[in-house]
């Protein structure tokens, strides 16, 4: 599945969340990650986030899509993220 993760987390935890998501997803812009995940990795990401945040204060939204093709993506401005296998 393809996921988009958006978060608003208190400053003392924001870096930890970013660092965690970096291991699975592509950084798009501040507080936004996206990428392809397997079912198992999705559960890992969800459980990991749950542990990191303070549920009374922070909020994380995960948008789940069937696949990348199910999404129409449009960028306005400069895209600072990278993807692709050939470097």
């Amino acid at each position: 599945m393809y996921v988009i993760v958006v978060y608003d987390v208190s400053v003392d935890r924001v870096n930890r969340v970013k660092k965690f998501l970096r291991m699975y997803l592509t950084w798009i812009q501040n507080s936004v990650f996206e990428g392809e995940l397997t079912e198992a990795d999705f559960e890992r990401v969800r459980a990991g986030l749950k542990k990191l945040i303070e549920e009374a204060e922070d909020m994380v939204v995960i948008y789940r899509l069937q696949s990348e093709r199910a999404m129409k993506r449009e960028v306005i401005g400069t895209d600072k993220s990278f993807s692709g296998e050939l470097l």
Binding site: R22, M23, W27, G35, E36, T38, F82, E85, L86, L87
Partner: protein, 321 residues
């Protein structure tokens, strides 16, 4: 397939930061999420830190290195996590017993010959499969089996000029390849060896104990064995696609080392077509689900595992579509 192969063609550094991998070059810093990496293929001059290697090893990611001419130099084969003494003993047993070794070696060649036939039949070209299989049946020792493989391949290659709408092939030359098609075959084969090696890493097989090739002959020789079966499907078809669709042309090659090699742009084109091939999926008949061509290599390893353990007899993969 959620994990991907990454191909690094530019020069740069591979670093570890925030428990993930960063690739840095003159264009900037590019994070590669560690959990998306299946294997890394490096072609440029790459500086790797030991921290990044330890992270890659922890995640079981192998890194394959090629020199600036595109020739395979070696692999970073992380500490194995899937070890089974029992498996290794059985694998060695099959190697030592002549009858068992011949069976597997012949199966590899049979698979290779049948796949050559399949590739040619797409272009309505007849191939003397039965003759080669007969010779294979009569072969009494490993050099003879290798001989059948070689003559089948020579015959197979002789049809290339009829398929290719562009470029001349003539005959197989290597070290160095003398023309464009040979350059692509050499490059494709070394890519395939490392792809197979990555798959072997993910099984309990020992990559050094081979059956068709002599184990002492070269590096990870089991990868050479299994690659034979997949060369027609993964390498040769990629070449036909690139040449006949005119994706690759003279500008994508350079004359070097008294031969012809893929240039930077050529390598880029080849790799992206090759990677697309690996990710192509096909409905598997007995698994009843879609599998990628890359996955077929892994399934081939599993079949060997089952053969060694005496569960099911090994039959080589033959293109069924």
């Amino acid at each position: 397939m959620k994990k991907r192969n990454y191909y690094i063609l530019s020069d740069g550094h591979l670093k570890r930061h925030e428990n993930t991998i960063y690739f840095e070059n003159k264009d900037g810093k590019r994070p590669i999420p560690i959990n998306t990496i299946y294997a890394i293929y490096s072609f440029g001059s790459l500086t790797v830190t030991s921290q990044s290697l330890s992270l890659l090893a922890k995640e079981g990611v192998s890194v394959h290195f090629f020199n600036r001419h595109g020739f395979y130099t070696g692999s970073f084969y992380p500490r194995e996590t899937l070890i089974s003494g029992d498996m290794t003993v059985k694998q060695v047993q099959h190697h030592l017993e002549d009858k068992e070794r011949m069976y597997i070696a012949k199966a590899f060649v049979e698979g290779s010959v049948r796949n050559m036939e399949k590739v040619l039949s797409y272009y309505d070209i007849d191939f003397n499969t039965d003759e080669f299989l007969g010779m294979l049946y009569d072969a009494g020792n490993i050099p003879e089996v290798m001989g059948v493989e070689a003559s089948a391949r020579t015959e197979y290659y002789s049809h290339f000029d009829g398929i290719l709408k562009h470029f001349k092939f003539e005959r197989r030359t290597r070290m160095p390849p003398e023309n464009e098609v040979n350059a692509m075959i050499s490059f494709g084969n070394s890519l395939l060896y490392s792809t197979v090696l990555s798959e072997i890493y993910n099984t309990q097989l020992n990559p050094t104990i081979s059956f068709l090739h002599e184990p002492a002959e070269r590096r990870f020789s089991l990868a050479l064995d299994i690659a034979e079966i997949f060369k027609p499907l993964l390498v040769d078809r990629t070449i036909f696609h690139l040449v006949n669709k005119r994706i690759i042309n003279e500008d994508d090659f350079t004359g070097e080392l008294n031969g012809v090699l893929l240039s930077d742009s050529g390598r880029r084109k080849f790799i992206s077509a090759y990677n697309e091939k690996l990710n192509t999926t096909i409905k598997h008949r007995s698994l009843m689900r879609n599998v990628s061509y890359q996955r077929l290599i892994r399934l081939e390893c599993y079949k060997l595992v089952k053969h060694f353990l005496g569960v099911t007899k090994y039959r080589p993969f033959v293109i069924w579509w």
